[in-house]
Symmetry: C2
Subunit: 329 residues, 2 copies
DNA sequence: TTGTAAGCGTTATCAC
DNA sequence: GTGATAACGCTTACAA
């Protein structure tokens, strides 16, 4: 591998000049610039990232900490993060935290070791509460989940409004016995629940039942199975992510119930399967790609201007009313 | 951040000794060892990765190049890769190549810049053909897709056998007009097609029709729609990945055809949706987590023993016969 | 406008 | 067994 010294030798200048040219500094003569670029081309020179990192105490890498890459929401977000990051010359470290605060802490330490330029992070409720973004030497952008600390950048959904909108839709279509299924580790689940409760309250409909559980298909399956088998079963299931909805779907099938006649199903995130089943599933679609994109853009701006004031981007979900919540007749 | 110098000062030894202790070298006195560990704990010292990389000319990072992280197959594999890699002290760079040879080349160069310790890679047909793994300074492990070059490690499915098994299942259940839908950029699709053809030949059934296309839902949708609308429609669809199958599913719905009475559907990869639709989809399930796990283990061994002879791990798919290919009566 | 040289934090060679 | 020191490849303050 050619180093900056080789380029300098080839171009007949010093390494300082090569570095200046490559950094696009203005105080370099046109002649030197030309010769340097010529040498770079000839030697197929590419700067050594480790050396740059060591020197600058900051790498051209960003960390992406999500709870589970198998969740289609995070998959879509990751895709956007990677696209935008690479476009801007950054690489992406991907880490799965499994909603485990210990793993989150471990990975945040790893991010320090790596001298990452910044982190995009979706914290558990527990970690979010004690998050102090100022203790890190790199900026942090929160996605999907908020934190009490307000001076941190974030890209979020208006979760209370979205939950309320989805609940209103169920109420308008005649459902009254709405069972709520929420991810317990995520602040987002709690916000969406608040929206549900608000809608119920406005409509003067009493809360029916609910379960908090891990955001996994199996957990959703078990919770809904229990609810369906109870003496007093619900007429609609309100879930807060696509994994829980998939689990609910399994339980409903297993009980041989018909959607929406026997039971309605509504959730969040426009996963592939929601339009492949019949009837299709009503849900709040999040602008996933946009979330990843905004978060990464925000992060890169923050890296360039550390003193910039924090901003939170609040995006709106979109209700996609489909067959699974058809009006009761 | 404490550096090795701080630790050396605190422990009253030289940086060389600290380095030796941390590397687990034997030629260090017990006394020095104790003092160093004490200092490390006290200062919460963690070695700087960039400095290590620069010095060793190799980082504790592995690259993972997949065609699209939104494909559930790669999601599952990525998850396994990340788990095993972190377990062994490596971080993972994730890159989406979009089946674009230019992007593949670009990312492979980036891997060089990053001094990665190794790469797990799923090449397009085009890149696989001209792949020369020896030209890279790091080992490469192929997954999912083979390459003509034989002296490279790989973790693969027995694709011909799997394709044949799936086709035999269709034939046994009475389907004769089997339309094949293959990913065009992947050698894997071609192998599975070979299995289909072999099964047809053995059963003395003439090939019916086929399309090669991008491995995307929309592409699968269009290809199947065309086939279904033709004067001579198929009685079964044979697809080679879950994205194409999802597209096929949409087209079948849109034509208001009933599975399996009007048309059967069979594919690869046990994506979530395949058991949520009714009837459930017959497919060859790949041991995705195992693939990622084996690939990463192979890579790490290779990093440690570069001269080790190349080995290919061939895993078997598992036919999950479900409702979408029920026997014709 | 350009070059010299220090220094980022490690590891490993060499001398003791 | 241990320590001083060179080297990895880069950026940048300072000097010219």
């Amino acid at each position: 591998m050619a180093s900056i010294k080789d380029v300098a030798y080839e171009a007949g200048v010093s390494t300082a000049t090569v570095s200046r040219v490559l950094a696009g500094k203005s105080n370099v003569s046109e002649k030197a610039r030309t010769r340097v670029f010529g040498a770079v081309d000839k030697l197929d020179y590419r700067p050594n990232r480790a050396a740059q990192t060591l020197r600058l105490q900051r790498s051209a890498t960003i960390g992406l900490l999500v709870s589970d890459i198998r969740n289609p929401f995070f998959t879509a977000v990751s895709r956007a993060v990677e696209d935008v990051a690479h476009e801007a010359g950054y690489s992406v470290f991907l880490c799965n935290t499994d909603e485990d605060p210990a793993k989150e802490a471990m990975y945040l330490k790893l991010m320090i070791d790596q001298d990452v330029a910044g982190v995009i992070y979706s914290p558990t409720l527990q970690s979010a509460e004690k998050l102090d973004a100022t203790q890190f030497r790199f900026p942090i952008i929160l996605i999907d989940r908020d934190a009490p600390q307000t001076d941190v950048d974030a890209v979020l959904l208006d979760n209370v409004a979205a939950g309320e909108q989805l609940a209103c839709h169920l109420l308008q279509n005649g459902y009254r016995r709405i069972f709520g299924l929420f991810g317990q580790e995520s602040g987002t689940g709690h916000k969406r629940r608040a929206g549900l409760l608000r809608a119920l309250h406005s409509a003067d409909v009493p809360p029916f039942g609910e379960t908090f559980t891990d955001a996994r298909i199996e957990a959703g399956y078990e919770a809904v199975l229990t609810a369906l088998q109870s003496a007093d079963p619900p007429d609609a299931i309100f879930t807060t992510n696509s994994l829980l909805a998939a689990g609910a779907m399994r339980a409903i099938h297993e009980q041989s119930l018909k959607i929406p006649d026997d039971i309605a199903l509504a959730g969040f995130d426009d996963a592939t399967w929601t339009t492949l089943v019949q009837p299709q599933i009503t849900l709040i679609a999040q602008p996933t790609y946009e979330i990843g994109q905004s978060a990464t853009e925000l992060l890169i701006k923050r890296i360039e201007q550390p003193q910039r004031s924090a901003r939170r981007v609040i995006l709106s979900g979109k209700l996609l009313a489909r067959g699974s919540t058809q009006k009761l007749v």
